[in-house]
């Protein structure tokens, strides 16, 4: 059986935390450049210009794109024929976060929820684990800022609400969020499953290369339609007015119960950060 030592996991997670926070993906850069061309609001264009300039400064100096370097959300896809040696995999992930946030000079934003006492090292991470075929390990680090996380919502719709109810809920969530989550945003939507499944797939939808459509043509059509509608709200860059409110809408679905229609909307700011590695 193939083996991976937890030391490798620690190093990889630490590196991915820094890379994700300092170097934006080419997908987002391309969408922002396109947005700058398409935006009709002069304020909006100036804001998009500053965002692109910021990306360059951050990358060249290896500084965080945004001071909110987030809570580290780590997705582990573990091959069923892989043996992890050297200790507890969750401790290894948290040690990676601890080192990455320290050595990358990233902000430590994690605290106890009620007493509000900072843990001092940005741990614990939120860790999601899936078992996959094969003998490899995929690690995705997605630091999530809370300006946008706070604007996310979930609703258990009724079956009678149907597609139009889901569309209304997505649009309403974006309009309520307005300028708070640092538009232009990426909208992750999870439809179906149970309460927690809908929330989980809405977050996972954000991991897609931004702008890549759902492989199901019907869902892809819904994504295009929602992007078009959201960009008619006038919210615009930073909520100060304009045509570019969202860069992409990613929708994923899962079968649900005859009595329900859960819809989760996870809002992501323009700094849609995620980096991955295959071990």
């Amino acid at each position: 059986m193939r083996e991976i030592h937890t030391d490798t996991i620690v190093e990889t997670v630490a590196r991915l935390c820094i890379e994700a926070c300092c170097h934006i993906g080419d997908d987002i850069r391309a969408l922002l450049e396109n947005a700058r061309e398409e935006e009709v609001s002069p304020h909006g264009r100036r804001i998009l210009e500053q965002l692109l300039e910021n990306i360059d400064i951050a990358s060249s100096l290896e500084l965080p794109i945004c001071q909110d370097t987030g809570m580290a959300v780590v997705f582990l896809e573990i091959g069923q024929d892989l043996h992890i040696i050297g200790g507890d995999i969750y401790q290894a992930v948290n040690q990676g976060v601890r080192i990455g946030y320290r050595e990358g000079y990233l902000r430590k934003s994690v605290l106890t929820p009620l007493e509000r006492i900072n843990t001092g090292d940005n741990t614990p991470a939120v860790i999601h684990t899936e078992i996959i075929p094969g003998n490899r390990l995929r690690i995705i680090v997605a630091p999530k800022g809370f300006g946008s996380e706070n604007m996310s919502r979930l609703k258990m719709l009724k079956p009678s609400d149907g597609i139009s109810g889901a569309k209304d809920f997505i649009l309403e969530t974006v309009i309520n969020a307005g300028g708070n989550p640092c538009p232009p945003i990426v909208v992750g939507v999870g439809i179906g499953g149970t309460m927690e499944k809908a929330a989980y797939i809405s977050k996972k939808a954000l991991l897609r290369q931004a702008g890549t459509p759902n492989p199901d043509p019907c869902i892809a059509k819904l994504e295009r339609e929602m992007l078009d509608t959201i960009n008619k709200t006038g919210i615009g860059p930073m909520g100060l007015g304009g045509r570019i409110t969202a860069l992409a809408v990613h929708i994923d679905t899962y079968p649900t119960h005859i009595a329900g229609l859960p819809v989760a909307v996870n809002i992501q700011c323009h700094a849609a950060r995620h980096k991955e590695a295959w071990l």
Binding site: S41, E53, I57, P64, C66, Y105, C182, T233, G236
Partner: protein, 187 residues
């Protein structure tokens, strides 16, 4: 018409009153940072009648919690945080003479009314442009609540910090005006 304006500290009240929602502002001077935890603590001190560590008269508060400085830098990335979380505390600080707030995102009706009452302004920085804004910060020191870490109150010297007037002293609100102007949705 929106204009390009230059703002210096100490604040000139007439200049502040002439700023209009939509104007671009380049700010040079001294500002303070305070976000969730510092606001909570200050307002608790006010309610308990305790002396405050800072006089807010004619001051500028930037809602921000910076990243730690890398070696060779004076500060890490330092963009604005969402202002609406401070809304519940803001009227109390405006009462005490606070004149300018810098953040991102819309404000509540109560805050807008207090801005008008006290002749203050709310400026928007570009959210997520943390590295760009850090380059405008020339000096920084912690002046209160050091135990709060990134949420401590910092005093900063900034040069040509790029901002936009989001809510002016008359209560004109670019978060309302801007989207209304560009909305294509049927009502």
């Amino acid at each position: 018409m929106s204009e390009i304006r230059v703002l210096h500290t100490p604040i000139d009240h007439r200049g502040l009153a002439s700023l209009k929602a939509g104007d671009t502002v380049y700010l040079t001077g001294t500002i303070l940072t305070a976000r969730d935890a510092a606001h909570r603590r200050i307002c608790q001190m006010i309610q308990e009648g305790k002396p405050l560590p800072i006089d807010f008269k004619d001051q500028i508060i930037y809602y921000a919690g910076p990243c730690p400085a890398k070696p060779g830098h004076i500060i890490g990335s330092c963009g604005p945080t969402t202002s609406s979380r401070m809304d519940v505390y803001t009227p109390m600080l405006l009462e005490r003479g606070l004149k300018v707030m810098i953040g991102k995102g819309p404000r509540s009706r109560e805050v807008i009314d207090a801005i008008v009452k006290h002749g203050a302004v709310y400026l928007a920085a570009v959210g997520g442009a943390g590295a760009l804004i850090a380059a405008c910060i020339k000096n920084v020191e912690v002046i209160a609540f050091e135990d709060l870490g990134t949420e401590a109150i910092h005093r900063m010297q900034v040069e040509n910090m790029p901002l936009m007037v989001a809510i002016d002293s008359k209560g004109n609100d670019l978060y309302q005006i801007g989207p209304d102007c560009f909305s294509q949705l049927e009502r």
